[in-house]
């Protein structure tokens, strides 16, 4: 690691008590985010990406049991008192959501929602807050910001709503932004605009970001580094170029091979055989072993540790050296 990480997860576990037994949604996740870095978190549905994000901010409640360590700028968030957590939320760590319609309060105008965040973090008087709100709206690329402040969320289009949500999150000037599939609900063209916007904002503000997505294209376009999750565990972490050029986990390898490519018409798809494992009964070994083409006998016996291969690169695959060379299309 070159710089001290801004956020560091060690052995993060989230267990939901369900009728069928304890469900290990997140099962020992180790992650580091350095200041100013964009970390992609990819994986299929149910791999624990979103739950990990929500656990960082203590948003899980009810039947969820969270354990392990979440250190933000050296402070353990899981053991922080509620008052302190309120301060860190927003000002330290912000979050944007997948569906901007439900993530904005439908009965308050966008302007009120931005100014409320500014007020909650003790910024300026009413006049200064209004000016800052206009500035934020302009920053996220909303045209005619003065007029749009008086609009309600339902008067915005999907892309504009997502921009407004980003503006609200930025109002508290967070050092780390958690983005939970921020482009999944949007058109492809709008997706691209929002991703560029997020990338530009992290550059300009020196803000770090965790971008959760299931879209490898989004990762390639936006992220500096990427962590691949499978069945609640981190399979592999690597700089983006390294991951796409030479995956060091059998799951990543299979994932890249299964992605459809343009250019070759009617080429057959290469799906990964089998189904993801049941999270109520965790396997003793590697969670991917039953579906893996390169599995060794040892893979099913014991859980492979996440081994650091190079700075900022780690893999939890025993077969990582047996993977055939990957030819990027």
């Amino acid at each position: 690691m070159s710089a001290a990480p801004l956020l560091s997860l060690r052995g993060l576990e989230v267990v939901f008590a369900t009728r069928r037994g304890a469900l290990h949604a997140v099962d020992g996740v180790d992650l580091d985010v350095r200041p100013g870095e964009i970390l992609g978190l990819v994986g299929e549905s149910g791999s624990g990406k979103s739950v990990t994000l929500r656990a960082i901010l203590g948003l899980l409640r009810g039947s969820a049991r969270v354990s392990g360590e979440v250190a933000f700028a050296g402070e353990d968030l899981l053991r922080a008192p509620p008052r302190r957590l309120e301060q860190i939320r927003g000002a330290g760590i912000g979050m944007i959501f997948q569906e901007p319609m439900t993530a904005l309060n439908p009965v308050l105008t966008i302007g009120v929602q931005i100014e409320e965040t500014l007020a909650a973090h003790g910024q300026g008087d009413a006049r200064a807050r209004r000016a800052r709100a206009v500035e934020l709206m302009r920053e996220v690329g909303i045209p005619a910001p003065e007029a749009r402040l008086a609009n309600f969320p339902h008067e915005f289009s999907g892309g504009m709503r997502q921009r407004a949500m980003i503006a609200i999150a930025l109002a508290a000037a967070p050092r780390l932004l958690l983005a939970d599939e921020p482009t999944t609900a949007l058109d492809v063209t709008i997706q691209d605009q929002i991703l560029r916007l997020l990338k530009r904002l992290t550059d300009e503000l020196g803000m770090a970001m965790i971008l959760v997505t299931h879209d490898l294209g989004v990762v390639a376009e936006t992220c500096d580094r990427v962590s691949v999750m499978y069945a609640g565990r981190v399979a592999e972490t690597a700089p983006v170029e390294t991951l796409f050029a030479a995956p060091r986990h059998a799951y990543t390898h299979a994932l890249l091979r299964s992605a459809p490519h343009g250019g070759t018409p009617r080429a057959p798809l290469n799906p990964i055989r089998g189904q993801p494992p049941q999270l109520v009964a965790p396997l003793p070994g590697c969670a991917f072993a039953p579906r893996c083409d390169f599995a060794l006998p040892a893979c099913g016996a014991e859980r492979p540790p996440l081994v650091e291969l190079a700075p900022a690169q780690a893999s939890a695959c025993l077969a990582r050296d047996r993977l055939p060379p990957w030819r990027a299309p």
Binding site: M95, F97, A103, E116
Partner: protein
């Protein structure tokens, strides 16, 4: 008709039942606010020349056994019954919404206790428990409000709790927490306005129910006390003269039916207009 005019008409279109209900409620409110301007006589004035006079030009709704004008008494009674509709629902509305909001949001032991308390209160028939409380406290309007409040808040609490449970799972609540808002701010500024819709609709319908309850208790001698003009009291007055002077019970009865109908129609209309699932 030109297209813009038709569009305008559609934009302001109010369903007929809601319009009828609103008209009835407005008429009642007018009677309650300015009974002196509408009533031809003093509701308490005796007139020994008009004892049990049937409806006619001088007394359109007839007169009672003391010669009091039934029309004037019915109009003045509106003031008391609208007051019942408001005061008998406000306490339960405020207390129930507050408790339901807290229980739905916090969950846990408080929620569990609330659920059991609601079940306990609902075990008793509503009217029976209200009558029991009034009997202990003594008859009168204020004691009736207290009795209704003791029982009535559970309906609001149950409704508010369910709506809060629904709202708190939405991302905007998570977003508010992520932005570092305090729980009180999230509850009252963010969840409450979003969860208020079904409560408001129920509130209007509840007013109809409370007018019926108020006049039932008035009839039984447990609510408003004679000689105060209140619809239930008027019907009770007329019951002994029913075979000779049907108008003494009939017109206050019509007023009760109209009030119940009016508030129910407005409640249902609002539910449709605000798209509240029932």
């Amino acid at each position: 008709m030109t297209p813009p005019a038709r569009g305008l008409r559609r934009a302001f279109a109010i369903p007929a039942p809601l319009a009828i209900g609103a008209a009835i409620v407005l008429l009642l409110l007018l009677c309650a606010l300015a009974p002196g301007a509408l009533a031809p006589y003093d509701p308490l004035a005796f007139d020994y020349n008009a004892l049990l006079q049937p409806p006619g030009p001088a007394h359109p709704f007839g007169a009672d056994n003391f010669g009091r004008d039934i029309l004037s008494r019915t109009i003045y009674a509106t003031r008391i019954d609208i007051q019942i509709a408001l005061f008998a629902t406000l306490g339960p509305l405020v207390i129930g919404s507050f408790v339901g909001l807290l229980a739905g949001y916090s969950g846990g032991l408080f929620d569990l206790l609330l659920g059991r308390t609601i079940d306990l209160v609902l075990t008793f028939p509503f009217l029976v428990i209200v009558i029991a409380i009034v009997a202990v406290l003594g008859p009168g309007l204020v004691n009736m409000y207290i009795a209704v409040c003791v029982v009535g808040w559970v309906f609001y609490a149950r409704l508010m709790r369910a709506e809060t449970l629904l709202q708190k799972q939405l991302d905007y609540v998570a977003a508010a927490r992520v932005l570092g808002y305090s729980p009180a701010r999230i509850l009252f500024r963010h969840i409450l306005p979003n969860a208020a819709r079904p409560i408001v609709v129920y509130w209007v319908t509840d007013m109809a129910l409370k007018i019926l309850l108020g006049s039932s208790l008035g009839y039984l001698g447990l609510g408003a006390q004679p000689p105060t003009a209140e619809w239930g009291v008027l019907i009770a007055d007329g019951k002994n003269f029913f075979t000779q002077a049907w108008w003494m019970t009939f017109f206050p009865g019509v007023a009760i039916v109209m009030a119940g109908l009016g508030f129910s129609l407005v409640g249902d209309g609002l539910a449709d207009l605000m798209d509240v699932r029932r």
